[in-house]
Symmetry: C2
């Protein structure tokens, strides 16, 4: 017995394929689409196709862009001698939000993860080395996540970058601002003590 | 400062408009779309437009259908003398899953809810009365949810249906199968006692 019209079932299946969307949520989303106007559904569908068609990777930093050089790589205000290496385009957004960094980025699109069969060749590592080899780079900041895979990737890249004679740094570890000492885990506390500063 | 390419921002906004999808989830979904092949994104977009274009309401029971009479209304196996009134097409699915009901349905597309400015004229009530007035109906089962609005809607419809001389019934209340007495709320226990049966 088919419970829903075929076109609705198809839409539910499409939504259910999205990450974090279960079958109940997929149903809810499909019903919501039916409640939209035909114009609105067309706009939604167009947004999907257009995003996929027009969003490309910046030829220099591999961040997402509308085509051609990304706004950061093409900005004369951004210092080309400092490259901040991140795993994901969303990390660029996070760092930009802090309004502290004025250099440029390099997006790896993942971290080395043997468990998930992601090796160095699956990441934007060659493009990073080419950039550094091109000259003009003084510092590379490793801003991968402070978890096992992020650490390993940072260490791996640091070793690859050593021959180029650039300074390779890592984001500081410590207690998050606004955090509570009693809730900090042992590893974070240890790193916070190691990295203590004079005041 | 624009963080994401415009086409990606547009897609994030579209996802964020969906019910239950916050801005972080919308970002996650938009990135997932970028990871799909162009063919897959086209299929997703088509599913949205096609569902909206082809799914209509059955002219008799107002349930969702691919066009024309719905499968249940057009099935000779389904008893046309019993109509089960539900608030939502998803309730039809729930009841069909129980494989117990062999009559037909009528979908109200909501319940009377003064708080949300939904009155009787916003629901498929006239089409129900026309159906019953057309003759051949012996029983109308009120299967709206057992909450305040569902109850009120059932009571309201029961009063409207009285002049037609049909039997109007309500789903039984009680302890859910597999439920625990100790976790049942007072109202449910009271209804379960009221509705007790000889064994």
């Amino acid at each position: 017995m088919e419970y829903f019209p075929a076109a609705l079932e198809t839409l539910v299946e499409q939504f259910a394929r999205l990450p974090g969307i279960g079958s109940k949520s997929a149903q809810r989303l499909a019903f919501y689409v039916l409640s939209l106007s035909e114009e609105e559904t067309q706009r939604f569908a167009d947004a999907i196709v257009t995003a996929k068609r027009t969003v490309t990777l910046c030829p220099v930093c591999r961040n997402l862009t509308d085509g051609g050089l990304c706004p950061i790589c093409s900005s004369a205000k951004r210092d080309p001698s400092v490259i901040c290496v991140v795993a994901d385009p969303r990390d660029v957004v996070a760092i930009e939000r802090a309004r502290e960094f004025s250099g440029r980025y390099h997006v790896l699109h993942g971290v080395i993860s043997p468990m998930n069969h992601i090796g160095p060749d699956d990441l934007e590592i060659k493009s990073l080395l080419d950039r550094v080899a091109g000259g003009g780079v003084e510092e590379v900041i490793m801003a991968t996540n402070p978890d096992t895979e992020g650490e390993a990737t940072a260490m791996y890249l640091a070793r690859l970058l050593r021959p180029f004679g650039v300074r390779v740094t890592r984001l500081a570890y410590g207690i998050p601002v606004g955090g509570h000492l009693e809730f900090a885990d042992d590893a974070t506390l240890m790193r916070a003590l190691e990295g203590r500063r004079d005041i």
